[in-house]
């Protein structure tokens, strides 16, 4: 690729957008990034360029965009973020020790990939022996190794033509977790991926890009866990995951956001499902300042099943936005969305559940439920179902509830001897457990359960931190 092709003309499309929609600093960042990666495969360079061009055209969304009505992106657009590299970090990947990661619970997982500011750290990761043919590692390494599955799938599903953040992620695509599971292969061990952000001297951004390709009849569980370490400056974590489940594949995907309040976390999970595949997406939002969680499955073959399960727990001035777009594109598929929100302080939650049933997707069975608990007068939830049905023989239901902790239930628990704080704790745990119970039992669910219990206020009974179902 000749160098001139990546020098961008300020008079081009982006110039018509305001500085807030398209901060010019991104041009500088992209220029530097493009130079640094100019020796890479031409298809990859073209993909990034397309991503940046799209971003330049659309710019960051504002609350005038219907899909962003409830979420103001100014914490991102008004801050100058630098692409993370080792020099700006208070803790560089080289300085990090296994000890530093212990607090995040990595010891619970035999298979653990660690990314520091978006870069894969082989030294901090441990990958046990995996079944024959399974490929797992950093995307950068898999790209460098010219793995064909990467070229065949990367960038083929994510809708970066419409979504500015997905476009930005594609523009700065470099590293992330990459997994290939061959036909009829079962990976028993959950694959745990920890993304640590450590910015300290400057406001940093990273754009992790994950790729999961599961061939026919294969099975795997992947956990993405986003955490912060010693952050002082604002951070911007803009992640995207493409997940392809071929015929009959069974994939469990879990995403946990628990960064600090200075961190803005935008994530997009794009799921492509083929015939009779079964995918579960579990999103657990506990941390971050501004969080946007996009989940976009396309049920593209007959008889697919998709579970979209989520729990968002906000406090102080956190903003937790969940944007679900479930596309039924084939007959006889079923999707289940369950999102529970607990909002305290002045936190603001959003649930946008959009279901599109395409013309040919007869016998679709789609269900959506969003339940919310508001723990303070200042907490806020916006919940919006949106059904677009173009087929005529389908079953689609949706429902949303917003409430406080039920006085009758509190009294019931107190009448059994629990003090008020414990009774509240118990009822919140009960509400969160509805989401936990939809996850398979095992190390991953135990991990999530610990995080939820730590979040809950007044968890005085340390002995009770064990599973509610285990007792």
């Amino acid at each position: 690729m000749p160098k001139s092709a990546i020098v961008l003309d300020p008079a081009a499309q982006g110039a018509t957008l305001t500085e807030e929609k398209f901060p010019l600093a991104y041009r500088t960042e992209f220029h530097d990034f493009s130079q640094r990666t100019s020796a890479q495969a031409s298809w990859l360079i073209a993909l990034r360029r397309e991503g940046f061009t799209r971003f330049q055209e659309t710019g960051f969304p504002t609350t005038h965009d219907e899909d962003w009505r409830f979420t103001n992106t100014s914490p991102i657009t008004k801050t100058r973020f630098h692409l993370a590299n080792a020099d700006d970090s208070s803790v560089s990947a080289e300085d990090l020790k296994q000890e530093d990661l212990k607090q995040f619970g990595v010891a619970n997982f035999a298979c653990c990939l660690v990314f520091v500011n978006g870069r894969y750290s082989p030294r901090l990761s441990r990958i046990p022996a995996l079944p024959k043919g399974v490929k797992l590692g950093g995307l950068a390494a898999q790209l460098a190794a010219n793995e064909t599955y990467v070229e065949n799938h990367l960038g083929k599903y994510l809708n970066f033509r419409r979504d500015a953040f997905a476009a930005l992620n594609t523009a700065f695509l470099e590293d992330g977790a990459s997994l290939f599971v061959p036909r009829n292969t079962v990976v028993e061990e959950p694959i745990y991926v920890l993304y640590v952000s450590t910015s300290g001297k400057a406001a940093l951004m990273d754009h992790p890009r994950n790729l999961i390709v599961a061939e026919a009849g294969s099975q795997a569980t992947i956990v993405e866990d986003y955490v912060s370490l010693d952050n002082l400056e604002p951070a911007f974590s803009n992640t995207a995951t493409e997940l392809v489940a071929a015929d009959n594949a069974v994939i469990n995907h879990v995403m946990i956001v628990r960064e600090n309040r200075q961190t803005n976390n935008i994530s997009t999970l794009r799921i492509q499902q083929e015939r009779s595949s079964n995918v579960s997406s579990h999103s657990i939002l506990l941390g971050g300042g501004l969080v946007r969680n996009n989940v976009h499955p396309v049920l593209g073959g007959e008889g697919c099943e998709c579970l979209i399960n989520g729990l968002f727990m906000g406090n102080e001035s956190q903003h937790l936005d969940n944007y679900m777009l479930v596309e039924h594109a084939s007959p006889h598929c079923s999707s289940r969305q369950f999102y529970n929100g607990i909002l305290a302080g002045q936190s603001h939650g959003v649930f946008h559940g959009r279901i599109i049933v395409h013309k040919d997707a007869q016998k679709t069975d789609a269900k959506q439920t969003n339940r919310n608990l508001l723990l303070s007068d200042d907490a806020l939830i916006d919940t919006k179902p949106q059904l677009e049905i173009y087929a005529d023989d389908v079953k689609c239901t949706h429902g949303a509830t917003i409430g406080k902790l039920e006085a009758a239930a509190l009294f019931y628990a107190r009448s059994r001897g629990l003090d008020e704080a414990s009774a509240r704790h118990l009822l919140l745990l009960a509400f969160a457990n509805e989401c936990l119970e939809r996850m398979n039992e095992g190390a991953v669910r135990d991990h999530v359960e610990r995080l939820i219990t730590e979040w809950l206020p007044n968890s005085t009974e340390t002995a009770e931190k064990k599973s509610a179902r285990q007792s």
């Binding site: 019931y412 009448s415 059994r416 001897g417 629990l418 745990l429 009960a430 007792s471």
Partner: protein, 255 residues
Amino acid sequence: MSMLEIKDLHVRVDNNEILKGINLTVNPGEVHSIMGPNGSGKSTLAQVLARRENYEITKGQILFNGKDLAEMKPEEAACEGLFLAFQYPVEIPGISNAYFLRAAVNAVRKYRGEDELDAMDFLPLVKEKMRLLEMDERFLNRPVNEGFSGGEKKRNEIVQMAVLEPKLAVLDETDSGLDIDALKIVSKGVNTMRSPNRAMVLVTHYQRLLNYIVPDYVHVLVNGRIVKSGGPELALELEDKGYAWTESEPVGAGR
């Protein structure tokens, strides 16, 4: 000392006076039945005893083992040994019966300065009580009352009572809506718990329950007052003549 001593109790709910001067004394070992028509204040009395918020005591006194019950929070009353079997047990999705019950038992034990029970100690105890109430052990892992039939909920209340071993048990219409088999099972559970140290107050609308749990005393509550008290034979008389009969009789003080 009496277990429960209610003196001239007046209670207001949402600005309506519901109880208008109740007098009742319950001693250890006794079983009292409170009967009355709909809206007479039976359930209000039960809820006040369990210290439900917004049930305002405007006059009178309730002594529970000599202590002023009005000063207690619901959890304090529970830890002091009072148990209310709810007329409408509350569903708590997301928490298993076992977890809920163990949390309750340990809250009470903690209050009394006893060691908390771990799952290993707790499970045999609760399983034994479930056998008594002929409840399948699978109920332990099901969410509290969620998806239970009416009869299962009532039996579950008695399991809780059996595990918590209260000094004073107040059963609020535990018999309502039960078929005869469930009624027998619940009655058997309650009868097993009768002891010289424990008192019970059965709030009921129907005399039928009293064929299986024979009370020592029966009180008739009408329009916020106890209008008649007597032995078990009073319940049969009520069954024959209906509540209207009591209203023409002179007002009798509670025992």
